[in-house]
Amino acid sequence: MAEKLIQIEIKRQSGPDAPSTWERFEIPWKPGMNVISAMMEIAANPVNSSGQETTPIAYDSNCLEEICGSCAMVINGKARMACTALVDKLEQPIRVQPLTKFPVVRDLAVDRSVLFENLKAVKAWVPVDGTYDLGSGPRIFPQQQEAAYPLSNCISCCCCMEVCPQFNDATGFVGAATIAQVKLFNSHPSGKVLKEERLRALAGDGGVQECGFAQNCVQACPKQLPLTEAISDVTRDVTLQAAKDFLRA
């Protein structure tokens, strides 16, 4: 019986300034394969479908369980995690390219450090007094925990930013992921001590006002974060804060 093959095309680029080209591969099919295992197969046998030797694909990955957020890429036109992209559920040839809104490092690996910078700018942390023993934390009722937990599931994959029409150099928009973290920390009993600073950081250019309500973010999020709800809640708070600041001044 002839071996079943899968067809996969990968957009390749040897460095940030190099031109990009598509390279095609045929890989032996195995049950339960995902896009990552296809690329592992290429690494073990780096030959393209024309029979030419080539280099293994460069890509970001780590946990392969959709919890580290590393392997976001565009697969058949959709921004998603490669580890949960099961080959049997994808139309072939499977077309894989890097995220388009972030600088390419090489092949499918991109630089998403902008998100971590944004998290610094909005002080996405609870400012604890210290790590010494200060007794138990504040009481938090199950309803509050159930509201906070989904927001705390953000894996920093940046899919929400990739699909957002407003996330680009012209607007400097921070994107949905950062705004959701502002909601998370502003709702924490001791995290909210920095609430005003966070809201001010999201006022003005690049802040919540850039959101165009396309709602792509909430569709693309692999962890189903309630992103649009977070944006509208934080937008309201930013507006209130701006009004308060205006009256104080």
């Binding site: 040897s14 195995k30 339960g32 394969m33 995902n34 295992s37 690494a43 073990a44 780096p46 030797e53 080539t54 280099t55 293994p56 990955s61 780590n62 946990c63 392969l64 369980e65 959709e66 919890i67 580290c68 957020g69 590393s70 580890c83 949960t84 490092v105 090489r106 690996a109 998403r112 450090s113 971590f116 998290l119 610094k120 002080k123 996405a124 942390w125 609870v126 400012p127 604890v128 790590t131 023993d133 200060l134 007794g135 138990s136 934390g137 009481r139 938090i140 009722f141 199950p142 509050q144 925990q145 159930e146 906070a148 937990y149 705390s152 599931n153 894996i155 920093s156 924490h188 001791s190």
Partner: protein, 592 residues
């Protein structure tokens, strides 16, 4: 005198915990990590974190946590540090709570606790089924705060290659490779904390993340550090077999009432749900009536192995058994286990709320690691280790939900100790060995780049994983281990004939992998030989030819050191600290 300079390698829970303690004490830290630290392997921990808070009226105490941990580890762990960890655990939970970890709550707003394997108490705090992710994020956020204050510099996308040692063998810094520019740089430091996790990749497919190769520990071993208890690795009883990796199905599934079973008839083709109760064999509940499905991991793993390979009762003749949650209502499952159920649904395609899951044991945790003293320092002065990278807290088998607490506790101990050490460090002679180490590492890179052989590194890795998994995991026979040892020597020979299919000097991931591969081969050998030499059964280490624990000969820590001239490990044994609890037989099938 300037504030001491500390380097932390690895940005998982242990590394971040160390960074926070150092920054809080006013020190400056350079934090190195292969991946952005928020993507470290700690995110994969699912079920929870243990601490005897006794919030369920059960009379739990830190002493009982200590006793469960020592007993679960089959008395191989040094008792003094384990006791200190269990005593610190309730305070660590409180701290994490204050940092904003969204732990599950009771109706009164207090922390909720669940049961986990190897204990009879509700001792495990949890945040849904993503506890590791939530804990890592809490520490990552605190480190980001220190970073924005200028106390911490992050070097993400850099890989540790070796320590810089001066002429007296004292650590003076590290040599690291930039994974984009492939440039080699040495960085000065007064003390170094290595928190680089486990080494699942040595077994090919495991529940570990891609970066968990154990490469940093292996490099230090080759520079003179002792590697302790390498033969003790944990095979988790419930993983989901996959093409690219084995995915963990958390012990919390059993903690919340999940039941393990197989059809009583071999080759039963019926759908699981249509098989009546009396035709199912709940073998863990039958064999271990007291602990049932919550026996420790090594015990559950061997039981599943036995049912599949000796009784021939794997589902449909395949090496798989059922892990069944379908008797629990949907709302409860979603509230307590949603994260892990989604993983199963996404990767397998079945809804575990409706259909019993199919699982099998898989390589999961590295109990062994760099040898450290009670201050977390290795035998190389100035090099500390914390977290899964060291050997100290779990003995011969780790209890579920003890890993997160051991990582944070080890980080909290190593950070201040590294600062104290650094403050009393005498200045280095000359350049402290920096130029020499840089030259040595450059030569190693050059050697690989100029190799024009025929061996693909990824295929060598697969063969290593296959032989390790076959002969050095659940059931161990000396004859088979010898086969693996010979295979590793063969793979080392073939490594010298490597063909780097990519020689470019920009973001060359296969080049970095090929360097890790040599280190994996080295520790693979330490694991295999250590297992062969230990002729007894203890915790996760099981030899049918030596089915009993032999305290007289082997109540000892294994210490491997590298003989560079012979390119092979040497073994010696060290007494275990048993001053608090006298060793007793470990029997989960009877009252103990």
């Amino acid at each position: 005198m300037a504030a001491p300079k500390i380097i932390v390698v690895g940005g998982g829970l242990a590394g971040l915990a160390a960074v926070i303690k150092i920054a809080e004490a006013g020190g400056n830290v350079d934090l190195f990590s292969i991946v952005p630290v928020k993507r470290s392997h700690s995110v994969c921990a699912q079920g929870g974190i243990n601490a005897a808070k006794n919030l369920k009226g059960e009379g739990d105490t830190t002493w009982k946590h200590f006793d469960d941990t020592i007993y679960g580890g089959d008395f191989l762990a040094n008792q003094t540090p384990v006791k200190a960890m269990c005593e610190a655990a309730p305070g660590i939970i409180d701290l994490l709570d204050r940092m904003g970890v969204p732990f599950n709550r009771t109706p009164e707003g207090l922390l909720d606790f669940r049961r986990f394997g190897g204990t009879l108490y509700h001792r495990t705090a949890f945040a849904g089924a993503t506890t590791g992710q939530q804990l890592l994020y809490a520490l990552d956020e605190q480190v980001r705060r220190y970073e924005s204050e200028g106390r911490v510099r992050k070097f993400e996308g850099w890989e540790f290659l070796s320590a810089v040692l001066d002429s007296e063998g004292v650590a003076r810094g590290i040599c690291a490779m930039n994974l984009r520019s492939m440039e080699l740089v040495t960085f000065p430091a007064d003390a170094i904390i290595v928190a680089t996790g486990g080494n699942g990749a040595i077994f090919g497919k495991s529940t570990n993340s891609v970066v968990c190769t154990g490469s940093a520990q292996a490099a230090l071993y080759q520079q003179g550090a002792y590697y302790a208890n390498g033969e003790f690795i944990q095979v988790h009883p419930t993983s989901i077999p996959g093409e690219d990796k084995l995915r963990l199905m958390s012990e919390s599934a059993r903690g919340e009432g999940g039941r393990v079973w197989v059809p009583r008839t071999a080759g039963d083709k019926r759908e699981a749900k249509s098989i009546p109760e009396n035709e199912r064999w709940y073998f863990l509940e039958e064999w271990y009536p007291k602990y049932g499905n919550l026996v420790p991991r090594d015990v559950a793993t061997r039981a599943i192995h036995k049912v599949v390979y000796e009784h021939g009762l794997g589902i449909d003749g395949q090496p798989m058994v059922y892990l069944d949650l379908t008797h629990i209502d949907r709302a409860t499952l979603d509230r307590k286990l949603e994260g892990i159920l989604e993983i199963y649904e996404k990767f397998v395609g079945d809804d575990p709320r409706e259909v019993p899951m199919k699982i099998f044991p898989g390589m999961h945790y590295t109990m062994g690691g760099l040898w450290v003293d009670f201050n977390q320092m290795t035998n190389i002065p100035g090099i500390f280790a914390a977290g899964e990278a060291e050997y100290q807290y779990h003995g011969a088998n780790r209890l579920g939900a003890n890993s997160l607490v051991s990582c944070i506790f080890g980080g909290f101990i190593s950070g201040p100790n590294a600062v104290a050490y650094a403050k009393s460090l005498k200045p280095a002679q000359g350049d402290g060995g920096h130029a020499q180490e840089l030259t040595r590492q450059r030569a190693l890179n050059q050697q690989l780049l100029s190799s024009s052989g025929t061996e693909n590194p990824f295929r060598i890795w697969r063969e290593l994983g296959e032989t390790m998994t076959k002969n050095v995991t659940v059931i161990r026979y000396n004859k088979n281990i010898l086969e693996t040892e010979a295979k590793i020597v063969e793979l080392m020979d073939r490594y010298r004939n490597i063909n780097l299919s990519d020689r470019s000097q920009w973001a060359n991931t296969s080049f970095a992998f090929t360097r890790q591969l040599w280190n994996m081969l080295q520790i693979g050998r330490v694991i295999a030989q250590g297992a062969r030499l230990r002729d007894e059964s203890r915790g996760a280490h099981y030899k049918p030819d030596f089915p009993d624990r032999n305290d007289e000969k082997f109540l000892k820590t294994t210490k491997a050191s590298y003989d560079a001239a012979a390119n092979e490990p040497r073994f010696e044994y060290e007494d275990v600290d048993i001053q608090h609890i006298a060793p007793r037989p470990r029997r989960y099938d009877a009252a103990s």
